[in-house]
């Protein structure tokens, strides 16, 4: 399916060039872009950009996973935490990660901390909300069954509710990584001196369209792989979830 899609896109692309004869700087030929992609993938400078972007994403993302899970579980299971934090989190979620980019630039300058803050912020909210929703939405029969067997608060939370919420939690982790990646790209477009996002912006300023498109393809592939890896985890976890075993 993917192969057919790529082939169709390349075909349509080549067709458009034959029909419209655009400038190579506006729409280069697929072969030119492919050649540029190969060149880039064998250049260490490009790998440095990729590594930097990935580092920024994963550093913030892992922090976001830890904090998001903790807060999500806390809100779902501890009443005090829920009362204290929910209104603030609901309000803050309308300050989208992108809106934090300018102030992060002022506070952190061009340093890595600024980018990691943005990726953390993006992941944290998505993971916290999804985890909370997953924990809150549970098959009551399972919970009641566990309680008749004498499970108390902590045991209930960790042995029954969280495992049962795994699929929802994993979905949250997947969406969080996706938003982290997008937010990082945006931050690199606005305020960076290196990285994938910065690379494509710089190339577009130099009218190096083949490089821009090659960079976009790399970005797309990375995003696709990140999403795909989680989908694999989701399907594996889905088979082993508690309710999956019970039904």
């Amino acid at each position: 399916m993917g192969g057919v899609g790529v082939a169709l896109c390349v075909l349509a692309w080549e067709l458009m060039i034959q029909v419209k004869h655009p400038l190579p700087s506006v729409l280069p030929r697929p072969s030119t872009v492919f050649g540029e992609l190969v060149t880039l993938l064998s250049s260490s400078a490009f790998y440095h950009d990729i590594e930097l972007s990935l580092f920024r994403v994963f550093a913030g993302y892992l922090l976001g996973v830890a904090s998001g899970l903790a807060v999500g579980i806390g809100i779902a299971r501890v009443r005090l935490v829920r009362d204290l934090l929910t209104p603030s989190l609901q309000a803050l979620r309308f300050i989208i990660p992108f809106a934090w980019i300018p102030i992060a630039a002022v506070i952190f300058g061009l340093s890595e901390a600024g980018k990691v803050f943005i990726t953390w912020y993006a992941a944290f909210f998505v993971i916290a909300f999804n985890t909370e929703a997953a924990l809150d939405s549970m098959e009551t029969t399972v919970v009641n069954a566990a309680r008749t067997l004498g499970a108390r608060r902590a045991r209930l939370t960790f042995s029954v509710i969280i495992p049962n919420a795994f699929p929802g939690i994993i979905t949250g982790l997947r969406l969080g990584l996706g938003l982290s990646w997008i937010s990082l790209l945006a931050a690199e477009l606005v305020n960076a001196s290196a990285g994938l996002g910065f690379f494509i912006l710089q190339q577009s300023a130099l009218l190096e369209t083949p490089s821009v498109i090659a960079g976009m393809i790399v970005i797309g592939v990375i995003g696709y792989l990140m999403n795909g890896a989680f989908r694999l985890v989701e399907s594996y976890v889905g088979k082993r979830s508690l309710s999956g075993e019970l039904s």
């Binding site: 809106a99 809150d136 577009s204």
Partner: protein
């Protein structure tokens, strides 16, 4: 292909059957609502921030203070800058959103019902979709320069995929039993189309449009941050470059409030229509 969105804080519907609901173990939600507790965190934060920035020069330079941000907001509102920025930003966001809805909705419905068309176009759409819309910005700037059209295109791309996915799924996943039931009542294909397909498709359109509006507003922020000459996002970058965090914070507040308003309006409008089609 499923419509992916972060789930809101609410009880969910189980797809595996079985009752689902808030875990009733006297846990985190008693329903008595100690609402005032929710204000503790934000009020404390604002107070601490204001006091700290009053006494600390370095902090003030970097984050300014709540009061300073409010002052900038007032100044910009009075001078008309805020209104003109809002007009630009809303024009970009809503323009791209509308265009996407108008194009993605019929496309989604037609593709959902036509196997040949979907086999032809779907692979191409699925290949382009993983390329985050943000990554399209440099190319779009290269093509169209920095301006209204460029922002419209980027926001269109963001909204298109959101609406398309929701419409396509909605129109595709129609319970075949419903169609069979209609057929046993000797309904013609046209009547089936009207009474079974359209409600399902409309549901998809409404849900997709709702999510897309939020995406459009966020897209506006990004595109304006990268390059613009007016608008809320531009204003934030402008103040940021001038090292005026008070202006940046003011901009963040506006982004949040308008984003919330759009979300509210979309919910109100669409949920009213949605209830007719359940």
């Amino acid at each position: 292909m499923t419509a992916e969105q972060p789930t809101p804080i609410a009880g969910g519907r189980s797809r595996r059957g079985g009752a689902r609901g808030r875990v009733q173990d006297g846990g985190a939600d008693d329903g008595r609502g100690r609402i005032w507790l929710g204000l503790v965190v934000p009020v404390t934060f604002v107070i601490v921030w204001q006091v700290a920035s009053t006494f600390s020069g370095p902090l003030r330079e970097v984050t300014s203070s709540p009061w300073a941000a409010l002052r900038v907001l007032g100044d910009d509102a009075r001078s008309g800058v805020l209104v003109s920025d809002l007009k630009t930003s809303l024009a970009e966001a809503i323009g791209g959103w509308l265009l996407a809805c108008l194009i993605a909705s019929p496309l989604g419905v037609v593709m959902a019902r036509s196997r040949t068309l979907s086999q032809l176009l779907l692979p191409a759409i699925e290949v382009v979709r993983p390329i985050s819309p943000v990554a399209w910005i440099p190319l779009t700037i290269l093509w169209l320069g920095v301006g209204y059209e460029e922002k419209l295109v980027v926001i269109f791309i963001i909204c298109f995929f959101i609406v398309f996915v929701n419409v396509y799924d909605g129109a595709r996943l129609i319970d075949p039993l419903l169609v069979k039931a209609a057929r046993t009542l000797t309904a013609s294909r046209l009547r089936i189309a009207i009474h079974v397909l359209m409600p399902a498709a409309t549901r998809g359109i409404l849900v997709g449009a709702q999510y897309a509006l939020t995406g459009a507003w966020g897209g506006m922020v990004v595109t304006e941050l990268v390059g613009a000459s007016s608008g809320i996002g531009y204003r934030m970058r402008f103040y940021g470059s001038a090292l005026r965090p008070d202006g940046v914070v003011a901009g963040m507040v506006v982004v949040a409030i308008v984003g919330w308003l759009l979300d509210r309006i979309a919910k109100l409008l669409f949920e009213r229509f949605l209830s007719k089609y359940r």
